[in-house]
Structure formats: C-alpha cells, structure tokens
C-alpha cells in the first residue's frame, strides 16, 4: 500500500488542528463571553464553511491564495514562493475550511462552565486573559480535546477544498482522499480499497475517544 498520501493527510490534519485550536479557542471565548454589536454577523461568517460546498470555498480560496489574490500576493512578497499547489497552501485552505468545526464544540464546552467561576476569578483579581488561561481552558480541556479530534478527522477527509487549492502534486498535496479519487478514476480499485480501509479504524477509534471525552 502506498503510504505517502496517508502520511500527507495525517501531517496536514495534525498541523491544521494545532493551528486551528490556537485560533478557535480565543475566538470561541470572545463569542461566548462578550456582547458587542455585530457579534451574530461575525459568528455567522465564521460558520459559513459549514453551509458552503467545499468546492465553492476552494474556488474562493483559489483566488485569495493565488498570485493575484491579497493573501497570495503578500505571501509571495514575503517568502518568494507561491501558495497554490503547495503543502502550506492546503494547510491554510484547511484552516478556513475547518474553522467552524473547531469553534462550535469549543464554544459549547465554554458555555457549560458555570459563569460564577469567571466572576470568582475576576473578584480574585484575575484579568480576563488570565481567567481564560487559568480557569476557562483547564475546565474545558475535554471539550477542546474533542474539538481537536473532530477537526483532525474533518481535515483528514477534506477533498474539494484541497483539490481546488493544492491540485494533486505527489508528495506535496496528493493527500489520501485525492489519491483514492485518482485510483478510482484510473480503475486501480485495489489501491482505492487499501487507502479507504485505512480510514475506518482511525476514524472509529477517534470517534470513540470523542464520545468518552464529551460524556462528562
């Protein structure tokens, strides 16, 4: 079995998950704990990738990350290379694509925390930022872990977005889902079977873990 696409999928999912949790946790906290004008509009914007077809997200990202797109242009100026059809490009695309899948479960776990804990931390002299790190994060660690697993699995299975932004460059952007599609296209069913079967135990074990983490 060709392991490279599986390795690329796991690498992409791991990096995107780490970055996503770092971005999603403070965003979820802002959405849970403050009321500012336009909050529901911003929240709906973050959730847009849930409602849009992955190819549509990929299409927009193709232009955004391309050499004439705002992000792609700045990137090229800073680092001298393109974002499209590169591993970095599909990491950025996956972050956009999976952001709501990280924000929603983390927000749900923040909402479960008794508001009196936050008030008690404030009364005891902790700033909102210190309260976030010393009280909110430690008391929602299971929810954050569950969110990380869901985002990891969601990114492992990404197809449309990755294909639009990354194409299918062997060893760079040809992740497992694309390799399966190409194997089927070229009637290499054995290869498609092997790669597809690899997903079942990984996904099943991770989902069992999510159930365990969110049972409390």
């Amino acid at each position: 079995m060709e392991l490279l696409p599986l390795y690329l999928s796991a690498k992409l999912a791991s990096i995107a998950t780490l970055i996503l949790i770092g971005i999603a946790a403070p965003l979820a906290y802002l959405l849970t704990n403050s009321s500012w004008p336009g909050r529901s509009f911003v929240e709906a914007l973050f959730n847009l990738p849930i409602a849009l077809p992955p190819t549509v997200i990929g299409f927009y990202l193709l232009f955004l990350l391309g050499p004439r797109g705002s992000v792609g242009e700045v990137w090229e100026r800073l680092f001298g290379g393109p974002l499209l059809f590169t591993f970095t490009g599909i990491v950025i695309a996956s972050i956009f694509y999976s952001l709501p899948f990280a924000i929603q479960p983390i927000k749900a776990s923040f909402e479960k925390i008794d508001p009196r804990l936050k008030e008690n931390a404030y009364v005891l002299g902790l700033s909102p930022a210190a309260t976030f790190f010393r009280v909110i994060i430690p008391n929602s660690i299971n929810g954050i872990a569950a969110a990380a697993i869901l985002v990891f699995l969601h990114t492992m299975g990404a197809f449309g977005v990755v294909l639009m932004v990354g194409g299918s460059v062997a060893g760079e952007t040809r992740v497992a889902s694309i390799a399966i599609y190409e194997a089927v296209e070229s009637m290499q069913y054995e290869k498609a079977w092997a790669l597809s079967l690899a997903f079942i135990p990984i996904s099943y074990c991770f989902l069992l873990l999510v159930n365990k983490l969110t049972r409390k």
Partner: protein, 237 residues
Amino acid sequence: MGFTAVLKKKTKFFTIDVELSCPDGQTLALIGPSGSGKTTIIRMLAGLVTPDEGRIVYRDRVFFDSARGVNLSPQKRKLGYVFQDYSLFPHLTLYGNAAFAAHDRSDVDSLMDFFGLTALANRKPHEVSGGERQRCAVCQALARNPHLLLLDEPFSALDVVTRRLLRNELKKITETRTFPVVYVTHDVTEALFIGNTVLPIVAGSVDREWLERIVTPATETDTRNKAARTTKLALAY
C-alpha cells in the same frame, strides 16, 4: 472608616434604592425574602453589576461614583466574595483553591488549619462535602487579605448543623479581622447572630418593620404571643 454605599438600580420588578455603611471590623447582615434585591446589592458592591446611580467608597478609595464616572473593575476592588456554592475551581485541589489569590502561603496554611481542611488539602472540590467546600471558599476569600469581605448566602445550601458550625467559625475568624463584612442571608437567626448591624431589604428598599413582622407574626393584642416574640428576639440577639 469602613465603607459607605448609596446604590440605585432599576430591576425588572422594582428599583433598588439603598444606603449602606459598615465600619471596619464589623459585619453588616442584609436580610430579606428571596428576590428582594440582596444579591444584586452585594454584586454591585463587588463590581459584578453596575448601579444606575450611586457611590461606593471604602476608606478613601472610590470604587464607584456615577457622578464622576468612576467604576473600578472587580479586579481592582480587592475583595473577598463567597458565593452560595459551586464557585471553587473544579480543576484545583482545596489547597490550590485557597491559595489561588493569596499573597502569603503561611496565611493559607493557618486558614486551612483553622477550618480543619489541612488533611483534605490535596482533594478536589467534588471529593469533599458541601460544608468543606464552603469552608474552602471562605479560606480562598480571606487568604487574599481583602479590603471588604462579601458573603452571598454562603451556607444556605448546607444542612442545619453544618450551617450552625460554619457560621460560628466565620464569626470567630471575622472578629479577628479589621475589614468590613457584608453578609447576605434570608435566615433571620443567622443575620442576627452574624451581624453587628442587620438591614432588612424588601423589594429593593430598607424595611425595618418587615423584620419585626417576621419575628412576630402575632397580633399586638395577643399577650401570650407578645411574650413569645420578646423571648424570640432576645434569643435571636
């Protein structure tokens, strides 16, 4: 010295309009029926709720002054606040909770010792009883050496025996401190036992007659009940 507060706040059902004061080293007990605005008053003192109008001054520090636009955050008021329940941090041990905002670890040790929590120092809040949790919450509030100690029905979720034990312990320890204490309760006996001053709050305002009526449900013409009222008041005080 101590603190003075003039507070006005419109709520859904009534307007809170009170003047409070408490000298250093004394306890002010706020008593009243459920939903009378006691908790909102103590939350205004803590900075967790903003009054519509008023002024809160502790010694020479202005916590809140609507006329001058001063409103110190809860962090800057340096308070001890004991909630009714569930305010301990579940991820920390009892010692971790008590020492959460403490300046001096030896203070924490002596407070834990006073409240009989030393042997339970490494337990998490869910592993101990309600009484032990509230003892720890009092330790947490006292260990930061607050300017003002606020207690919002801290023992009301406990059984009668534990409640009596805890209020004895609280009275004993607050008598050794120099800061003012505000104690919210709906239990008349508790208010009269703990407070140097008892302020009855009904529908957001001070209603001294309410306390009299609560302690004496009888009519003035019933002499037997009048005698009972006198005895009850004497016992309560």
